[in-house]
Symmetry: C2
Subunit: 334 residues, 2 copies
C-alpha cells in the first residue's frame, strides 16, 4: 500500500500536521523540519492523496470536460488542447461523453458526486439546458463553442456565428456569384441558426443574388454528401455554397466530384472551421478559420479565474474569424 501522511510522520518523528504543512504551500514550516519531512517522504515514496485533501480544502482540481461531439475531427484537436491547457494549470479533465444523453440530471449528479471544481462544456450542439443545469447545481461553467448572447446566462467562449454567416456571404458576393446557397448543419443547432441568420442578413443587401438554403441532418461527411446529391438534382443552377462546417463541406465536395463537376469551376464551396484536413492538398478547402487555440486558452483562463471567484458575472468572449483562401472558391476579381 502507498505510504500515508501518518507513515511519514512516524518515520520523521514529527506530528502529522507538520507533514501536512510541508506539502501545503504557504504554510509555516522551518527549514529544518521541511528537510526532515522531505527526506522521510522521499524514502517512503509518499505523495499526498488529493482526494482526501479535497475533503477539507473543497478543491479537487477535477474539471468536467463535457462533449457530445465525438465524430467531428476538429474535436480531437479540441481535446488535445483542452487536456494540455488544463494539465498545465494542474487541473485534471474528467471526460464526459454526452452523445446519447438528453437529460442533464444524471450528469449533474455524477459531477457533484465527484466534486468537480468546474465544468467545461465543449460543444456547439449540446442544448443550452445542460450548461444551465450545471450552473444551477452551483458549479462554475464555461461553455466553449457555445452560442453568443448579449445576456449570457453562463460564460460563453467562441465565435460570433452570425458574423461568420455574414463573412461567408461577403466572400461569395465579392467573387461575383449570382446564385448561392446556404447548406447548413442540423437546423436544431444554434450554430446553424446563427450562421444562417447572418448569411441571410448580408444577402438581403444584394437583391440581385438568388439565395436558397437547406440543412443536412448532421455535421458529417455522409450528411453533407447526401444532401448535396439531392441538391445537384434539384438545384443545378446554384453556383456556390456556404457549408455548415468543414466535414460537411468535404462530403459535399465528394458529391460534386462524383457528379463529374469541377470545383471551383462549376461549383464553389466555402466551409467553416479550418480543421487540419481542410489544408490537406487533396482537399484544399476554402473555409472560415475558427481560432480554436485562442478559444480554448481563453476558456481555460476563464475557468481558472472562476475557481477563485465563482460568482463572477457571466460574460461572452468572442474571437474573430477569417477567411482562409484555398482552392474551392473562384479567385477574387482583381
Amino acid at each position: 500500500m502507498a505510504a500515508t501522511l501518518k507513515d511519514v510522520a512516524a518515520r520523521a518523528g514529527v506530528s502529522r500536521s507538520a507533514v501536512s504543512r510541508t506539502f501545503t504551500d504557504g504554510a509555516s514550516v522551518s527549514g529544518k523540519m521541511r528537510r526532515k519531512v522531505e527526506k522521510a517522504a522521499a524514502e517512503l515514496g509518499y505523495s499526498p492523496n488529493v482526494l482526501a485533501r479535497s475533503l477539507t480544502t473543497r478543491r479537487t482540481k477535477l474539471i468536467g470536460l463535457i462533449s457530445n461531439n465525438f465524430h467531428n475531427p476538429i474535436f480531437l484537436e479540441v481535446f488535445d488542447l483542452f487536456t494540455r491547457k488544463l494539465q498545465e494549470r494542474g487541473l485534471r479533465p474528467l471526460l464526459v461523453n454526452l452523445s446519447d444523453e438528453t437529460d442533464p440530471e444524471n450528469s449533474v449528479r455524477m459531477l457533484r458526486q465527484y466534486s468537480v471544481d468546474g465544468v467545461v462544456v465543449a460543444s456547439s450542439t449540446l442544448p443550452p439546458g445542460f450548461s444551465k443545469a450545471f450552473r444551477d447545481a452551483g458549479m462554475p461553467v464555461v461553455n466553449s463553442f457555445g452560442r453568443y448572447s448579449s445576456t449570457p446566462q453562463v460564460h460563453v467562449v467562441g465565435i460570433d456565428n452570425r458574423e461568420c454567416g455574414r463573412m461567408a456571404a461577403r466572400a461569395l458576393v465579392e467573387r461575383g456569384y449570382k446564385n448561392v446557397a446556404f447548406l447548413g448543419g442540423p437546423e436544431s443547432a444554434t450554430s446553424t441558426q446563427d450562421r444562417f441568420a447572418g448569411f441571410q442578413e448580408e444577402m438581403a443587401m444584394h437583391p440581385d443574388i438568388a439565395v436558397s438554403y437547406s440543412f443536412a441532418t448532421a455535421y458529417s461527411f455522409d450528411a453533407g454528401r447526401a444532401e448535396m446529391q439531392r441538391l445537384l438534382a434539384s438545384n443545378p443552377q446554384t453556383e456556390a455554397y456556404f457549408c455548415g462546417d468543414d466535414v460537411l463541406s468535404i462530403g459535399v465536395l465528394s458529391a460534386v466530384q462524383d457528379a463529374g463537376l469541377r470545383v471551383p469551376e462549376n461549383v464553389g464551396l466555402i466551409g467553416l472551421n479550418d480543421m487540419e484536413m481542410a489544408g490537406w492538398q487533396n482537399i484544399n478547402l476554402t473555409t472560415i478559420r475558427q481560432p480554436i487555440a485562442q478559444i480554448i486558452n481563453s476558456s481555460v483562463e476563464l475557468m481558472v479565474a472562476m475557481l477563485d471567484e465563482p460568482d463572477r458575472y457571466p460574460e461572452a468572449r468572442l474571437f474573430p474569424c477569417e477567411v482562409v483562401e484555398r482552392g474551392t472558391l473562384r479567385p477574387l476579381p482583381t
Copy 2:
C-alpha cells in the same frame, strides 16, 4: 452547499450509518428505514460524495485514460468508445495527454494522487516503459493497441501487427504486383517494427518480387506526403505500397495524385486501420481493418475484471484484422 450524509440523517431522525447503508448496496436496511431515508435524501437533493466514500472503500471508479495520440483521427473514435464503455460500467475516465511527456514519473505520481482504480494506456506509440511504470506502482493496467508479446508484462489488447504485415504482403502478392514497398510510420514505434517484420517475412517467400522500404517520420498526412514525394523521385518503379496507417496513406495518395499519377492504375496503396475517412468516397482507400470496437470492449472488460482481481496473470488479447477492399489496389485476378 450540497447536503451531506449528516444533514440527511438529521432530517430523517436516524443515525448516519443508517443513511450510509441505504446508499450502499448489499447493506442491511429495513424497508421502513429505507423509505424514511430516501424521502429525506430526495428533499435535500442528497447524493453521496464518491471521493469521501473512496477513502474507506478504496475504490474511486476513476480510470486513467492515457494517450499521446491526439492527431490521428482514429483516436477520436477511440475516445468516443472508451468513454462510452467506461461510463456504461459506472467508471469515469480521467483523461491524460502524454504528448510531450518522456518520463512516466510525473504521470505515476498524479495517478496515485487521484487514487485511480486502473489505467488504460491507449496508444500504439507510447514507449512500453510507461505501462510498466504504472503497473509497478501497483495499478491495474491495460495497454490497448499495444505490442503483442508471448510473455506480456502487462495486459495487452490489440492486433497482431506482424500478422497484419503478412496480410498486407499477401494482398499485394495475390494481385500480381512485382515491385512493392513498405512505407512505415516512425521506425521507433513497435507497431511499425512488427508490421515491417511480418511484411518482410511473407515477402521472403516470393523471391521474384522486388521489395523496398522506408519510414515516414510520423503517422500523419504530412509525413506520408513528404516521404512519398521523395519516393516518387527516387523509386519510380515501385508498383504498390503498404502504408503505415490510413492517415499516412492519405498523405501518400495526395502526393501520388499531385504527381499526375493514377491510383490504382499507376500506383497501388493499402493502408491500415480502416478509419471512418478511409471509406469516404473521394478517398476510397483499400486498407486493413483494425477492429477498434472489439479491442475497446475487450479492454474495458479486462479492466473491470482486474478491478476484482488485481494480480491477474497478464495476458495478450489479439483480434484478427481483415482486408477491406476499396479502390486503391488493382482488383484480384479472377
